[in-house]
Symmetry: D2
Subunit: 139 residues, 4 copies
């Protein structure tokens, strides 16, 4: 299991006239959290794209429990539960507001994709090697 935390401050342009983070903008929060997680592993996603693999989202399930508001510093807790052999990876996100309340949950599944061949590919070897140590169970 791999678990990280990212802290993100909500911008004015991301909030709607209810004063809530617009529901479509949570996707930016997941993106920042998973990009930081992948960067922390030692292989930034931006480099992975230069190396020829992109990661389109294929599935997203989200529950909005409480609103996030302008200027709040939210915490995005991100977990990968398992490394799978097939070309998909799922990030589980829990978002907490400054008061510590769980305000949002989402599971986002991405695939690995080669834009030249237009085919799905396995996770790049370089990323797999960096992530594997987190998924080895103690005997």
């Amino acid at each position: 299991m791999l678990k990280t935390e990212a802290f993100i401050r909500i911008r004015y342009g991301e909030v709607d006239q209810m004063g809530f983070l617009y529901y479509g903008n949570y996707a930016l929060m997941y993106e920042v959290a998973r990009a930081e997680m992948i960067r922390d592993s030692g292989y930034a996603y931006s480099q992975m794209e230069k190396d020829g693999t992109v990661m389109p989202v294929v599935k997203m399930n989200a529950k909005f429990l409480k609103p996030a508001r302008y200027d709040e510093l939210i915490k995005v807790e991100t977990t990968i539960l398992e490394l799978l052999a097939h070309p998909f990876i799922t990030f589980h996100h829990k978002i907490f507001n400054e008061a510590g309340d769980l305000i949002h949950k989402a599971d986002v599944t991405l695939t690995f994709y080669n834009p030249l061949t237009e085919k799905r590919v396995p996770m790049p070897e370089r990323l797999r090697k960096l992530l594997e140590p987190y998924f080895i169970d103690a005997p």
Copy 2:
């Protein structure tokens, strides 16, 4: 059952560097489609807000089957399957590209909410009366 179609052209600022509609921006497409559906009923959502009821999203499930690309005129097919007594409403969206391929599916559940009392409320009577005729089964 109530079913409508909205046609939306993908903007440059909505597409990412893969050349795909950014996954968070599908939320704008659902929003346009359900706002047009509600407007067509005779009671625009903007008026409902002025009358004191807002509609925050509480749940969203989405499947990304194929990418939508810059400048494509997508079709968003939106269905409400049932009018329920509790303060939730679910919109089912299917998105088709210009070639007619089903590229995306999403279910978005919203609640009715009074921002002054900070409580969920039933669907406004005015909207319910406008929508009900679509849900009366023939004998």
Copy 3:
């Protein structure tokens, strides 16, 4: 001189908690207006990109006179005053609200650019030929 009108409805996700179209989102309105103008000429910008020329913005000046609000159907009046020999083109935008008030003015200058050579290029011949008739002065 070439002059067109585009009508755009303001989305919920584009408005901030003041209830105003977020100041950064006017860029989307200019984009829609100039893309429709170019498409109307007979050569869509999306096709121009496929043909190898992109158009990055190099300068933008904007005045915000009155707010645009959620659900308003704004009118974006767009004018090109002259076709120049150098690789720049300026679009002049005036935005009107539903009441007919002038609410916004902006001048946006773009350049023509070849992403492969990473150099500025003149306006593509195909676009020039389509636009030229609008700029021939009567004797």
Copy 4:
């Protein structure tokens, strides 16, 4: 004179299919930079709004010198040159990429506004007192 620096990482959802930060999204960068500057003064903008003063943008001039790209950590240098008696304030922004190149310049003028009276107001006293020390010239 007051001068601050903010560092912001470009998100995937903010970049267009040229691979450049979308021209409308620079507005988010200015917003983050000026919000941090105001917060650093000791009076967060979010608090100012709760106290009854909002700050709509009235003018924006921008020059795009070089593109900003996905995942770059840009530096936004922000300067206020003078505190004026009238209800306007101008922020001067210079943006640098990771290589240290100046890639963007913008001047953004905002006004102070009371949404209840719908009138422009002077800078709130509390903010003025916090900013004034930066603008006292040595004799």
